[in-house]
């Protein structure tokens, strides 16, 4: 936690501002098409809901080359249409800086947090720069629980398409919930509110140069908040409509960063999660309402083909992580999988796979990258299974399916603890196949 990481330009700009009560950060990389709307909604939110506070909007940019920073600084806001009841006492400042260090969302957040800490902010929020559904109310919902109700961390709660956020639904939410006992539905949502105490704690940590610097940041923030006993709530933000993630980005790298962060934090907080059983709801603010969502087309054939290929080629890597029973079930599925009821990765098998990978991640540090990247075909098979299983189901019914998956993870937790502590480790019952 030091200000030396802030450049001279940043120091100079902050000195001109002096201080701030609220900081809203927007990380970006080539988001010129959407960031203007996000900035406008944020500024409107600050002026409408927090007119008595000094607000600053910080854009932390990864050296975009499409004019993202210009869009942040030049986007206009028609205040006549805002119908403000109270005239803002202070102007909302907008700043845009390039961040330094490892390219990624986490590094962008780090700069935002450092600036918020430097300005002495009473609350900080971060919102994604690719949002199309953000409204000024989001800013209110992310900040008010901190400023007026004493919460330390506000997680988002959205309505999403049943096939949107599949890493969240299939791995991060069930695993985080079963480990730490709190039902934070969108632990890697990307839009959060953070109190200064938690902000300080984030900046004190020395693991910013890991996957935290990239896509691991969201689960890192949520897990620290939960595991270290900060007060957590959720705010219902409506629909999350956003542009697809960078299509050039490698899925296995993204999976690696997110799941790797979850597994790494499992080691950091093993004394915390081992002591917790079951799970409980988290306070949810905001008025819940139904929303229309963008349809999402999914090509399950391609996913199943990737899985079959994985079974043919990656057996050796999987065999170092999976127990004999799980490995043989997976290989059998590789020969027959078609998404039908008896031929798919069901909840129980999926939970077992993830938990065995978590144990392997702990026990084989050198093989971690291989293990995590080799998870991609299994993940794709699970997503395809889920898509085929829920094809005809409405959102509420899909939510029940996700609940069932979470319960599978919770049921397997005692076994996870036993294996984590060295009892009956899967590698002691290795599959015979070991080719490469």
């Amino acid at each position: 936690m030091n200000d030396e990481l802030l450049s001279q330009d940043v120091h100079k700009a902050l000195a001109e501002i002096g201080g701030a009560d609220i900081v809203v950060g927007i990380p970006s990389y080539n988001n010129a098409a959407t960031i203007g709307h996000v900035v406008a909604a944020t500024q409107a939110g600050l002026e409408k809901y927090f007119p008595q506070y000094r607000g600053v909007i910080i854009n932390s940019d990864g050296t975009s080359n499409d004019g993202t920073r210009d869009a942040v600084l030049k986007t206009g806001l028609d205040k006549g249409q805002l119908l403000l009841v109270t005239t803002p006492l202070f102007p909302v400042h907008r700043l845009s800086f390039p961040y330094h260090g490892i390219p990624g969302k986490g590094s962008a957040f780090r700069l935002i947090f450092q600036i918020a800490h430097h300005l002495g902010a009473k609350a900080c929020a971060v919102v994604d720069s690719d949002l199309r559904s953000i409204t000024p109310e989001w800013i209110d919902l992310l900040l008010r629980p901190i400023l007026h109700a004493g919460f330390d961390f506000v997680a988002p709660y959205y309505h999403r398409h049943k096939y949107d956020g599949t890493i969240t639904n299939s791995i991060v939410y069930p695993l985080t919930r079963s480990l730490y006992g709190l039902r934070v539905r969108q632990p890697i949502g990307g839009d959060f509110g953070v109190a200064p105490g938690l902000l300080k704690r984030y900046l004190e940590r020395n693991d910013w140069e890991t996957d935290t610097a990239r896509f691991g940041i969201d689960i890192w923030m949520t897990t620290i908040a939960i595991a270290e006993g900060f007060r957590i709530c959720q705010s219902f933000l409506g629909a999350k409509l956003h542009n697809a993630k960078d299509p050039g980005l490698d899925l296995s790298a993204m999976l690696h960063q997110v799941v790797g962060s979850v597994f790494r934090l499992m080691q950091d907080y093993q004394s915390v999660w081992m002591a917790r059983t079951g799970s409980q709801d988290v306070d949810l603010f905001g008025f819940r309402y139904g929303v229309g969502l963008d349809p999402i087309e999914v090509n399950t054939d391609r996913m199943l083909a990737a899985f079959r290929r994985g079974c043919e080629e990656l057996g050796d890597v999987w065999s170092t992580a999976l127990s004999r029973e799980t490995y043989e079930t997976v290989q059998k599925l590789g020969r027959s999988i078609d998404g039908s009821e008896n031929s798919r990765i069901d909840d129980s098998l999926w939970a077992q796979i993830i938990l065995e990978f978590a144990i392997a991640y702990k026990r084989q540090p050198v093989e971690r990258a291989h293990l995590l990247k080799s998870l991609t075909p299994l993940y794709l098979a699970r997503v395809a299974s889920f898509v085929l299983q829920t094809k005809l189901l409405a959102s509420e019914e899909v939510e029940k399916e996700i609940e069932h998956l979470c319960l599978c993870f919770e049921q397997k937790k005692p076994e996870l603890i036993r294996q984590w502590n060295g009892e009956n480790h899967p590698s002691s019952r290795k599959p015979e196949k070991a080719k490469l």
């Binding site: 398409h161 096939y163 949107d164 956020g165 599949t166 890493i167 969240t168 890697i188 990307g190 896509f215 969201d218 956003h242 697809a244 993630k245 960078d246 299509p247 980005l249 490698d250 899925l251 296995s252 993204m254 999976l255 997110v258 999402i296 999914v298 090509n299 391609r302 996913m303 990737a306 290929r309 994985g310 080629e313 990656l314 050796d316 890597v317 170092t320 026990r363 084989q364 540090p365 050198v366 093989e367 990258a369 291989h370 990247k373 080799s374 991609t376 075909p377 590698s427 290795k430 070991a434 080719k435 490469l436």
Partner: protein, 231 residues
């Protein structure tokens, strides 16, 4: 005539017996040293097997990714066997030394001078094999995720490259057929580079066309890519 024959036989017998008598003490000493070395080696192997059971060497090897390929041999057995044969080798050298001849002295000198080099060469080969295995796996996982053709072949090529590089380095270190290995290495590397250049050149035009087409279609097509909203 008979007397002469007797004399020749007795002189020969004397010479042989004197030569045998010269070697007998050395031979007995060598046998004794070998027997002691064998007893010591067996005792230490037994002790090591008992002691190492308590140390989690297997766990350590699993952590550094060295378990595959040695799964038939447990790490404690490997360590014990290595120690056993090392002691026996030292015993054999000491036994040879007891003959105190020029030949044995030269053999011992060569062995003593070669031993550190052999150790370094073995270490080079082990490290290159480990690197080959690691990067081979990286290539395999990457190739499968990227849907590349023949991922196992690519992985084997990477692994082979590392192992061959290790062998060339080890041979160079031992000064053993240095020019042969280096020439083979350069030839193979040159061949690989030439093949890669030809493949790139022959397919480059098509790939460039595809790339430009993708650029024209812009973001509309990018939505079709498989990376949709996983987070």
């Amino acid at each position: 005539m008979l007397g002469l024959l007797k004399q020749i036989i007795s002189q020969t017998a004397e010479r042989i017996s004197s030569q045998v008598l010269d070697y007998v003490p050395g031979f007995l000493a060598a046998l004794f040293i070998l027997a002691v070395a064998l007893i010591v080696a067996k005792s230490i192997r037994w002790m090591l097997l008992k002691m190492i059971k308590g140390i989690s060497i297997d766990r350590f090897l699993r952590k550094v990714g060295l378990t595959a390929g040695t799964e038939k041999w447990k790490a404690p057995q490997l360590a014990a066997q290595f120690t056993y044969w090392s002691i026996l080798a030292i015993g054999a050298l000491a036994a040879l030394n007891s003959f105190n001849s020029q030949l044995t002295t030269r053999i011992i000198e060569t062995a003593v001078f070669l031993f550190p080099k052999l150790l370094v060469a073995a270490a080079i080969i082990v490290i290159s094999a480990w690197l080959g295995r690691y990067f081979g796996r990286s290539t395999l996982v990457w190739a499968v995720n990227e849907n590349m053709p023949s991922p196992r072949l690519l992985a084997a090529a990477v692994r082979g490259f590392f192992i061959f590089s290790g062998v060339v380095t080890a041979a160079d270190h031992l000064d053993f057929a240095r020019s042969v290995f280096i020439a083979a290495f350069i030839l193979i590397l040159g061949g690989v580079v030439l093949c890669a250049a030809l493949a790139l050149g022959l397919n480059g035009r098509e790939a460039l066309h595809r790339y430009l087409d993708e650029g024209k279609k812009g973001s509309a097509e990018s939505e079709d890519r498989p990376l949709w909203r996983h987070l």
